[in-house]
Symmetry: C2
Subunit: 416 residues, 2 copies
Amino acid sequence: MKVGLVGAGTVGGGVCEILRLRAEQLPALEVTKICVRDAAKKRDFEVPAGCEIVTDVNAIINDDSIEMVIELMGGVTVAKDVVMGALVKGKHVVTGNKALIAAHLPEIQAAAKAGNAAFGYEAAVCGSIPIIAAMRRDYVGDTITAVMGIMNGTTNFILSKMESEGADYSDVLAEAQQLGYAETPPDFDVEGWDARSKLAILCKLAFGVFVPELNIPCAGITRIAAVDFEYAKQLQSTVKILGVASRNEDGSISAHVSTMVVPFSSPLSRVTGPMNCIEVTSQNCAQMCFSGPGAGRYPTANSVVNDVAMIGSGGGRGDPFPMNSAAQVKSEVSGRFYIRFTICDGLGIIRTIGEKAEKAGISIHSILQTPIVNPQKVMFVLTTERTTLTAVKQMCDEVAKLSWNKDEALIMPIMD
Amino acid sequence: MKVGLVGAGTVGGGVCEILRLRAEQLPALEVTKICVRDAAKKRDFEVPAGCEIVTDVNAIINDDSIEMVIELMGGVTVAKDVVMGALVKGKHVVTGNKALIAAHLPEIQAAAKAGNAAFGYEAAVCGSIPIIAAMRRDYVGDTITAVMGIMNGTTNFILSKMESEGADYSDVLAEAQQLGYAETPPDFDVEGWDARSKLAILCKLAFGVFVPELNIPCAGITRIAAVDFEYAKQLQSTVKILGVASRNEDGSISAHVSTMVVPFSSPLSRVTGPMNCIEVTSQNCAQMCFSGPGAGRYPTANSVVNDVAMIGSGGGRGDPFPMNSAAQVKSEVSGRFYIRFTICDGLGIIRTIGEKAEKAGISIHSILQTPIVNPQKVMFVLTTERTTLTAVKQMCDEVAKLSWNKDEALIMPIMD
């Protein structure tokens, strides 16, 4: 089978290296064209013998001898043309482009069907972890009730370093950028958008529902401070950013990406560094957990190669998103919450906050306050009993109007 | 596709229930015959409409209308006839019978090839964890260097209960038997034989080598005492029984099942209760980890159904054990060791043990001894630097000859 590769950076180069070094254990495949931005650039991998370097994606899309296209250029504009163009022409496509899939899942699904082509996207979600294969294959006789986990290595690296070193966000971010774990600007990771794309894809596989990303509430890590790890520790917990999707009792689906207070008793609390970890809860299997490197050249390239090999040996056909459901999606987040207030110390503050909580129908579970060092900037934490994010935000909006409130409250769900 | 089921106990009944309850999400399958020992026995599941209950396996093997046989009767005698008989007739086979596969892997592989039949065995290794699918699919362009993990739920339940309650082995075993977690007699689990079967299967998938079970050194949990958890804790560790297989630098393979000293820093140390957890180390993916329920009606039946559905929809063909290698298998275990001696207190014991260690070429890493309560029965622990199990056993054999030695030394590898 002749293969065209679009994008020959970190992951694309890794794919070429694996295909070259492991040729004898893989189905017969030949990369005949590689499309890059700059044909003259020196490559950090060995270009396959006889492979043509091109700079126009149409040289691959319109090449009838090419049966499979590997898209690893990233982005959602040209990459979309490549993926859709290849699929409708009946070329199989393998991609690691989570943003593209999350943005255009229904069109991709339709194009794969129209072209009767295989669509492999294992590399799009959580690096080397074979979570897409597991979701497509291992729950065919089961009902998934929840999918949650650490879906972004950059932010997990930052949060676990903040936890272990008591360091502040900006310092650790700078270090992560120096180490190449975080990009500049880091928004896609630290705002939770990368995890949100992955969660949107997992929602479709787990529940059959396509949830547009903008309908998934998303709160990143930029406002997490060292003090939050101190307070979390008092709750026998740490802080992680998780993607969470679950089936509610009424059949509707809830999904959100958020920093959360995660108890030490949860395996997710111990996933450190740039690792990813996904927990899948289902009726037959109770809970299964899949963890591994969430990014990196060879872990991600390995997932690409798995798809390429599967398709190359005749597998991977059929609807890439086999489950279809009309379940309703709720944007509400329910549960217990951690609310960190920043105030100027004074009389009657706890009483007032108690009143605002009562007015919002929120029952207070605990109030945590370390001894005050600077009365002009006191950070204390309130944890709630089970309520909704809407109620919590309503309460915080009320508090925000008061003179002694010095900063927007930080709100995090507490993992059960 | 018409299906025959042999064995309708815990797992077989679960399979029938899933096939019935999830029919609309599964490929079209019809269980037309179920073979049981006692046709009159009341079933704890709904027998499919039109399904015939038979008591002779040949009624299924010789039924040309049946294309797939699910073997869930257990054992290695009649079950072997069923599996081999079905495969050579070209019937696809799905089984959860780890003992059978580990005992007759090469014959099963040959029969599947001869009959051009699919052979699914996801349920044979670690309940619901899709480790067989992962090993067959997700490392096609990779090289696995080690597979290790908690492969038996019964013993993990017993050890984690001993750890959390400071209880002794016999008490916890009795409780596990009452709860249905352990069988009577419990030998298959507590001697490590069940884990050894699974490890033999994983060795073939990871390294292409069939290792007969009796060539895999195996040490169960029966001699572990509460005191071992106390000493392990001093080493920031706990005690787990693990299956371990790895590729040595010279290309040879080592495999053993053993209670081991596992540091708290390892995720395996925190797998508690009847859960299983497998870590796979490879060149492309560094380390991936798969965990979930290792046994139970629906977790195991879910794995059976995954295979049945895959085969029913045309997948799962090809060599069920695709990797074949002539790598040498070494029965030696190398690493650091924990040795617990039981002695009658006296003068010169540490000096003598030091001499015996030196004679065996073993460098001592630490000596742990809690204050002596009963001088007639002192348990103390020696940990070694890197050496071999052969050297450790040689040293312990020398110590065993001495008058103050009161019991066989307990030897456990220490996980790196």
